[in-house]
């Protein structure tokens, strides 16, 4: 199975969700800022990389976990991926595409814009982390939900 966590720029919320999924971030407490900073791609993805899927790791069910930035047309791009895979003869039951942007609050958005779009990393980066810390419980819930679905699908096969 392949799991894609998607957001606007694949720099913040998708990285956090994929990292919780892979155990790079804890599920039982809110991580400290420095734990976010060491994550691959966190607040690093450049604008020109939006659209390119990045591999984050393999989970305990042997599924590949990716992050993907889709900018503003996330539903359209999700549809295109599934449509492409169907035409390529791939079973789309083995694919999960999860939009993580709904867990992003205003503070993370401002921070992300400052850091990624304007290049003010020193101001933007701590704000992205603060916003994610505030919503961390929702990220954990989302990943748990994904894992439940993943487990069911994997067991069926």
């Amino acid at each position: 199975m392949k799991i894609f966590y998607c957001c606007y720029g694949s720099a913040h919320s998708s990285v956090v969700a994929a990292s919780i999924h892979l155990g790079l971030l804890p599920s039982n407490r809110v991580p400290a800022p420095k734990e976010f900073l060491v994550l691959p791609h966190f607040d690093k993805t450049e604008s020109f990389e939006i659209g390119t899927p990045f591999f984050m790791g393999k989970d305990e069910y042997d599924s590949d976990v990716f992050i993907l930035g889709m900018a503003s047309e996330r539903r359209l791009i999700k549809k295109a991926i599934l449509s492409f895979l169907t035409h390529a003869g791939i079973n789309t039951r083995e694919v999960m595409i999860i939009d993580t942007l709904k867990n992003v609050n205003f503070i993370t958005k401002i921070g992300g814009f400052a850091s990624r779009r304007l290049g003010f990393v020193t101001i933007g980066r701590p704000l992205t982390i603060l916003g994610i810390q505030q919503k961390y419980g929702d990220f954990v819930k989302l990943v748990m939900h994904v894992k439940t679905t993943e487990q069911k699908t994997t067991q069926l096969d």
Partner: protein
């Protein structure tokens, strides 16, 4: 190999380019009779619609990708590599730069004012203005080396 012609709504420049590629258009007025011309619904945006297969066995698709063509090209490229298809197995052709005033006006008349007949005529005029460029793009796509996927 999959060739995907893309434009904002999918049903104008992309359909014409795909049909030129497949040699479905002999005269410019044939454009109005193409089954997909002005006939891709909003809920079909983002879907790959198969138009046919060319003489080299390449599958020809159209897609309406709104403003996301550049991102989508990278995504589909990445996805196809993740699934083990090599880089040459997919060719994404973005045609958004060939929209002109007449095409936009025609689309506006069709979508906002429901003036379908006159809208289609204007789009046809707009496409005819860019016909040469469109033919050149399609020709350069047709001339690309044919990439045959391994059956394995």
């Amino acid at each position: 190999m999959k060739i995907i012609y893309s434009c904002y709504w999918g049903s104008y420049l992309a359909v014409v380019a795909a049909s030129l590629h497949l040699r479905h258009i002999e005269e410019k007025t044939d454009i109005l009779a193409l089954p997909l011309f002005n006939n891709i619904k909003d809920n079909e945006l983002g879907e790959l619609i198969r138009v046919g297969t060319d003489e080299n066995g390449r599958e020809i698709f159209v897609i309406g990708s709104k403003k996301s063509a550049k991102i989508l090209a990278k995504t589909l490229d990445g996805i196809s590599q993740i699934y083990g298809f090599s880089a040459g197995s997919i060719l994404f052709v973005d045609l958004n730069h060939l929209y002109n005033f007449l095409i936009r006006l025609g689309i506006f008349l069709i979508r906002r004012l429901k003036l379908i007949t006159i809208g289609k005529r204007l789009i046809l005029m707009g496409i005819c203005k860019n016909h040469e460029k469109l033919i050149n793009i399609v020709q350069s796509v047709r001339d690309k080396p044919v990439y045959k996927e391994d059956e394995a």
